[in-house]
Structures are given as structure tokens and as C-alpha cells.
């Protein structure tokens, strides 16, 4: 295995990795928000329902 750092051969490569990682993660988080929001809504409804049943 080579001991030469590849980033010395292409110094932009590490920046490219950082940008890809950052953008991909942020986009996926954005896409997941709708599902997460729905789950939180359902959980909130379930806990209200449970409290109501307990009261009854």
C-alpha cells in the first residue's frame, strides 16, 4: 500500500468528500422531515388517547 497521501496528488479531493458528505446528509435529513413529523403527530395522538382512556 502506498504511503504517499493521495490528497497531495489531488488536494481538492478531501474538500470534495466533505462537500458530498455534507450535502447528501443534509438533503436526506430534509427528505425525512415529513415522515418524522407524521410519526411525532401519531405518538402525540396516542398519548392523548391513552390519557383519555385512563381518565375514563
Amino acid at each position: 500500500m502506498t504511503s504517499i497521501s493521495l490528497s497531495t496528488l489531488d488536494p481538492n479531493l478531501i474538500d470534495w468528500v466533505r462537500n458530498q458528505l455534507t450535502q447528501d446528509f443534509a438533503t436526506r435529513v430534509f427528505d425525512a422531515v415529513v415522515d418524522v413529523h407524521e410519526c411525532m403527530d401519531l405518538e402525540a395522538q396516542a398519548s392523548v388517547g391513552a390519557a383519555e382512556r385512563k381518565r375514563l
Binding site: 500500500m1 504517499i4 497521501s5 443534509a26 405518538e43
Partner: protein, 676 residues
């Protein structure tokens, strides 16, 4: 708030990931050792809410690491190559899952100022992160591989690999829906023969229930007395002792709790409720004597009797849904005991299971999903115990060692062949390289893999050996090699503990090396006799792209802890306990007989596709005992029907026949039942 500000969340998440990545990268490049030492100045007290966030981030990072261990390892290796450093520790690794968890928490903090709500949103993101982070790492790995940044995947082998968690199926399969409908029909037949007439609308609703997603069946029982909301039997049930303070017929009271309950509830239950109560009673009678239910856990399981009866009286989905949480919980308790092989030394483990069940018993009336929560808690507890138990399994360790040696052997053969091929070498050198030195290289691989120092030293020594008899080598280098090589070889042979035939090969080598070196230094190359070594093509072939065994298993939709059923020698259920990290051998165990069966991953795939092996939900204990209970109660109902019929014949001289027994006689065949 979350929906309306999701664009901010995206921007913040990107900013924070980029910042943390850069900080860790700088720390790596500078060789910063700040984390290695602790000083009092660096220790600060965290506010409670901040501490909760730290705990949540750490917990989430651990789960993510378990989920994407292979992808993480590959990307870390690539990154290390890219910046020219050794594999970094977790705390310094810019792509360690903590980077993402931390970034998400900070991003949520930017849109949600309330700490409690922030934590709530972060936790709600947990399941999504388990998909997001592996996908991000896989994407970057693929992009870097496409740019030619390759790594030696073989180095991954031999690492302690975390067992992937078994996946819980998101939706019921067609097979399960069919089984649910069959159970519903069977229950209806039993109730009908007991005199219960199902109104048409109710029948339709029950059929629909079988198809409904499981979550909807977890709601609190819809009590049948709408005016009072709570049925009369519920109070009586609460008064029945379920502890083991009483003794009935030399048995602890908790084993007989349901029999006591049946007597107490006799006049409070409707006829169909009595049938359901009978089914649950017989189910527990069978369960508590089944050899698959470990003795140490029987009394704990017995604590479930009243909660399960109460649940079944209000919500029949336990009887008609094969994937009901109660069935899953019962199977899991049995599986837990079987796989861990509990004995008297495991008191704390048993006590932990007891606490989980006790929590359920106390909370089932208030919590709609108490059984599911207990299942989740036990599953999480079990997962970590199982990991430790399997790590200690001597047979599995031996199998791993055997496969590691096989893999190291093939790696060694390839490296030797690459160095010796098409060269004219004295026979003792070839024999030594293929014999004793191969053993040294295998040993070196097992000690540190292809990136370890022993491996590099063993191969560079072999290079020196070949160069010491090569005409292109400079005379000064030949003299250096002649003086140092025998000592190096001897040292490495001793370190690898090479004995027997291999040491005689070494003796031949040293004799030949002394002669050949003298001739080489004198420039008499033609007097060094040799033959051209030609390795077989198989040895030289480049290993095909290696796929992680866990990933292959996941591609089949399976993971350790899953169960299969074979029918070669009677119906047998096997648990997938382990998959080896090198060759991907799946190790299955049949607990009733203690038999173990090993199957390669590809063979498992073929057998699953051909149907000779079938994936099943679990141990199947709850299904079996319930099915048995259905049969027993069906016979009892028919017996009661015949007795009533006989009585009504006697009474018929006085009045019309009872509607309960109309149309059935004592000679009618029993209601046909099939196993779920």
C-alpha cells in the same frame, strides 16, 4: 415548526457536519493529542438537559455504528489513505456517526429552542438516521471507489463484527394474513358451536381485523358493555391474587392463577368470553410445562396470565393475529432462556427479565402497548446478552479460527506465487518458500492482517531471499543479504514457532543459501542450479469483489437471530446464531436437540429460493400452545354441547329444543383444526 422550518434544518445540518468534519480532519492532520489527556480545566459540569442530549447523541452514535460498521470501516480506510494517516480512532474519525448525530442535534437546536422538545425531535429522527447515515456512507464509498481509491477489504476480516440486529417485518406477509384469517375462522367455529351467534356486521369487522396493520390492534380493548364502559369481570379480575403466596395442590399459586380466575368469573362472563378464558387457561397450562420454556423463567411467565386473559377478553386479536405482541413476547422469553442456557449463576439476568415482565403486569391497564414495550425492552436486553454469550461459544470461535487460517493460506499462496513466478530459483528455496515460509506468512496474517507489521516483514524477507539469488542484484547488496538474511529468517521462524518437517526445509535452505550466496558474490551465476517456478492460475487469480457476509445476509432479508424451518427430517426450527466474518458461514442451532448446522450464505439463499428452507417468525412456541389450546377447547365445547343435547332431548318432552344445541349431536365430528 419542524415542517415549516425544514429548509433551515437542512442548511444548519450541512453547516455543522462540514464544521465538525473539518475540526476532526485538522486534529488528525496535526496529530493533535488533546483527547489523550484529561485536565481539571477541561472538565465542566453539564446542565441536565445538555447531559440528556449528550447521552442521546452517544446512544444514537452507537446504534449507527452497529448498523453500518462495514461501510464505516471502508470509508475510514479510504479517508486514511486519502490523507496519509493510519486508521484513526473513533473520536478523531471525521466520518464517525457521532459527527452526524451531533450535527443533527445542533441543527434541531437552531430551530427548536426548548431543550425538552429538541430532545423529542432528535429521538423521533432516530429510526430515520438508521437509514440516512448508512446510505450517506455507502454513497461516498462508491464515489471514492469509482475514483480509484481502493482499499484491501480483506483487512476487514478478523475484526470483531457486531451481529446485525434482526429486522422486524414492517407489514404482515400474505402467508401471515392467510394464517390470521384461518385463525379467525377457527375461533368463530368454536364460538359458534358454543352457542355464540356472530352478527353479520361483527363478522365483517372481525375479518377486516385480521387484515389490519398490527398497530391498530394494540389499542385498549373495546369493552363490550358500552353503557358502563368497564365490564363487570374487570373488577373481579383485579382481586385475584397472582403472586405465589398461596399454595394449591403443592403448586405455586401463580401457576394456577387462571384456574382460580375461571371459577371466580364463572357467572360474570358471557358464553363466548368463557370460551376465550378457557383457551387462555389451556394455553398457559401447556406453556408452563413445555420443555422449551426454561424452568428458571416459568414463574415469571406465569405472571402474565391475568394480563393476557384481560387482554384476550377485550381484544381477540391475540387469538387471531399470528404476529401479536403477546405471542412475540412469549417466544422471545423462551428464546432468551434457550440461547443463553440459563443456570443458577444467572440470577441477575433472570431478575432483569422479571423486572421487565413485572413492569408490564403493573402497567398493562394504563398503557395500550405495554406488551409491545415489554417485547422491545426484552429484545434490546437480549441482544446485548446474546452478543456476549456467542462471543464465548468455543465451537464458533474454532470455526472462525479455521476459516481465518484458510483465508490467510490463500492470501499467502497468492503473495508467494506473485514473487516466485517465472523466476529461476534453486529447488531448496522454492520448497522453503512454499513450506516453512508460507507458514510464517499465514501466521503473520493471522496476527495483524495485510496491513500489520509481521505480514510486511515476512513478505519483504521473501523478497530479499529471491533477490539474494537474482543476477540483477548489486554485489554490495548481495554481501549484505548474505550476512543478514539467515539471521532474519531464523528469527521469524522461531517467532512463528515453525517445527517438524518445516524446520528440515529451513536447514536445507540455509545450506543452499550459503552455497548460492558465495557463488553469486563471486559472479558465478551459471553454477547456481535452479528451475523456473510456474504457479497455477487459480492461485494467482485476483480475489473477486468481496461482499461483507452480513451485507449478503441482509440482502436476503435475514439477520442473526432469525429463524428458519426445515422439513428434511420432520419439521424443525433452527435459529441463525452467527455468520462467520470471513467465508460467511451461517451457523444454525436446533435447541430441542442441541444440533448445530452450518450453511454457506449462498447455499442458504438457494435453499430459501427453492423452498426447502422456509423463513419463520420465531420459535413458534406461542403459536403451538395456542393451536393446542384451540383443539382442547374445541373438544370441550363439543363435549358440553353433547351433554346439553342429551339433556334437552330429555326435556323435549316438556318444550322446544335449545338453540345452542340445535343441529349438533354427540356423534358429530370435531371441528377441523389446522395449525397456524
Amino acid at each position: 415548526m419542524l415542517l415549516s422550518r425544514r429548509r433551515n434544518l437542512q442548511t444548519q445540518a450541512a453547516t455543522v457536519v462540514s464544521r465538525i468534519f473539518s475540526e476532526k480532519l485538522l486534529s488528525l492532520l496535526d496529530g493533535d493529542n488533546r483527547n489523550a489527556m484529561l485536565s481539571l480545566d477541561g472538565i465542566t459540569l453539564l446542565a441536565d438537559d445538555r447531559l440528556d442530549e449528550e447521552i442521546a447523541i452517544n446512544h444514537c452514535s452507537r446504534r449507527l455504528k452497529e448498523q453500518c460498521d462495514y461501510e464505516l470501516w471502508c470509508l475510514t480506510q479510504r479517508l486514511a489513505r486519502l490523507i496519509g494517516v493510519a486508521h484513526p480512532t473513533d473520536t478523531k474519525n471525521p466520518v464517525f456517526p457521532q459527527t452526524f448525530a451531533q450535527a443533527l442535534m445542533e441543527a434541531i437546536g437552531s430551530i427548536e429552542p426548548n431543550p425538552a422538545d429538541r430532545l423529542l425531535v432528535f429521538k423521533a429522527f432516530g429510526p430515520a438516521l438508521l437509514d440516512i447515515v448508512p446510505a450517506v456512507l455507502t454513497g461516498i464509498n462508491a464515489a471514492l471507489a469509482a475514483r480509484g481509491i481502493d482499499i484491501d477489504v480483506g483487512d476487514y476480516y478478523g475484526r470483531p463484527v457486531l451481529t446485525p440486529e434482526r429486522q422486524s417485518p414492517a407489514a404482515a406477509t400474505a402467508q401471515e394474513i392467510a394464517a390470521n384469517l384461518e385463525l379467525t375462522a377457527t375461533l368463530k367455529k368454536i364460538l359458534a358451536s358454543a352457542g355464540h351467534v356472530l352478527p353479520e356486521s361483527e363478522a365483517e369487522r372481525e375479518a377486516a381485523t385480521a387484515k389490519r396493520a398490527l398497530a391498530t390492534t394494540l389499542q385498549l380493548p373495546a369493552f363490550n358493555n358500552e353503557k358502563t364502559a368497564v365490564p363487570t369481570w374487570r373488577g373481579t379480575l383485579g382481586d385475584i391474587p397472582s403472586g405465589n403466596q398461596d399454595a394449591v395442590e403443592h403448586q405455586p399459586a401463580n401457576v394456577r392463577t387462571l384456574h382460580i380466575a375461571r371459577r371466580a368469573l364463572q357467572d360474570k362472563l358471557t358464553r363466548d368470553e368463557q370460551v376465550i378464558s378457557d383457551i387462555i387457561t389451556v394455553m398457559f397450562d401447556r406453556l408452563l410445562i413445555d420443555p422449551r420454556m426454561p424452568q428458571e423463567l416459568r414463574e415469571i411467565v406465569a405472571r402474565l396470565q391475568l394480563p393476557v386473559l384481560e387482554l384476550a377478553l377485550g381484544d381477540r386479536s391475540l387469538l387471531t393475529q399470528v404476529h401479536h405482541p403477546v405471542r412475540k413476547l412469549i417466544d422471545l422469553v423462551a428464546e432468551f432462556g434457550l440461547t443463553l442456557g440459563l443456570d443458577n449463576d444467572d440470577e441477575s439476568t433472570v431478575r432483569s427479565v422479571e423486572n421487565i415482565i413485572e413492569g408490564l403486569v403493573l402497567s398493562h391497564r394504563q398503557l395500550p402497548d405495554a406488551f409491545q414495550l415489554a417485547f422491545n425492552r426484552l429484545d434490546g436486553f437480549y441482544y446485548h446478552h446474546e452478543e456476549a454469550a456467542i462471543q464465548n461459544d468455543a465451537k464458533l470461535r474454532a470455526l472462525e479460527r479455521e476459516e481465518a487460517a484458510e483465508f490467510a493460506g490463500s492470501q499467502a499462496d497468492r503473495e508467494i506465487a506473485l514473487r516466485l513466478q517465472n523466476r529461476s530459483l534453486p529447488e531448496p528455496i522454492i520448497a522453503f518458500a512454499l513450506g516453512a515460509w508460507r507458514a510464517v506468512i499465514v501466521n503473520a496474517y493471522l496476527r495483524g492482517g495485510a496491513s500489520g507489521q509481521p505480514w510486511k516483514l515476512a513478505l519483504s524477507t521473501l523478497d530479499d531471499l529471491v533477490r539474494s539469488v537474482h543476477p540483477a542484484t548489486e554485489p554490495t547488496e548481495l554481501r549484505r543479504l548474505a550476512s543478514t538474511l539467515p539471521a532474519t529468517i531464523e528469527l521469524l521462524l522461531n517467532r512463528a514457532d515453525i517445527v517438524g518437517d518445516q524446520s528440515s526445509l529451513a536447514a536445507d535452505l540455509f545450506a543452499e543459501l550459503g552455497r548460492a550466496s558465495a557463488l553469486a558474490i563471486a559472479g558465478k551465476w551459471t553454477e547456481i542450479c535452479g528451475r523456473v517456478f510456474a504457479p497455477s492460475l487459480d492461485v494467482l487469480s485476483t480475489p473477486s469483489s468481496v461482499v461483507s457476509p452480513s451485507a449478503s445476509l441482509a440482502a436476503m432479508g435475514m439477520a442473526c437471530g432469525d429463524w428458519i424451518e426445515t422439513r428434511d427430517d420432520g419439521i424443525r426450527r433452527w435459529r441463525l446464531n452467527w455468520i462467520t466474518t470471513i467465508l460467511g458461514t451461517c451457523v444454525f442451532k436446533h435447541y430441542e436437540s442441541g444440533t448445530t448446522c452450518n450453511m454457506r450464505c449462498d447455499e442458504l439463499g438457494e435453499r430459501l429460493a427453492s423452498g426447502s428452507v422456509q423463513r419463520v417468525r420465531g420459535l413458534g412456541l406461542a403459536d403451538e400452545v395456542l393451536s393446542g389450546a384451540f383443539e382442547t377447547v374445541s373438544r370441550k365445547v363439543q363435549h358440553d354441547g353433547s351433554v346439553l343435547a342429551a339433556r334437552s332431548i330429555g326435556r323435549s318432552r316438556l318444550g322446544p329444543p335449545s338453540p345452542v344445541t340445535a343441529g349438533r349431536t354427540a356423534n358429530d365430528p370435531p371441528i377441523p383444526l389446522r395449525r397456524a
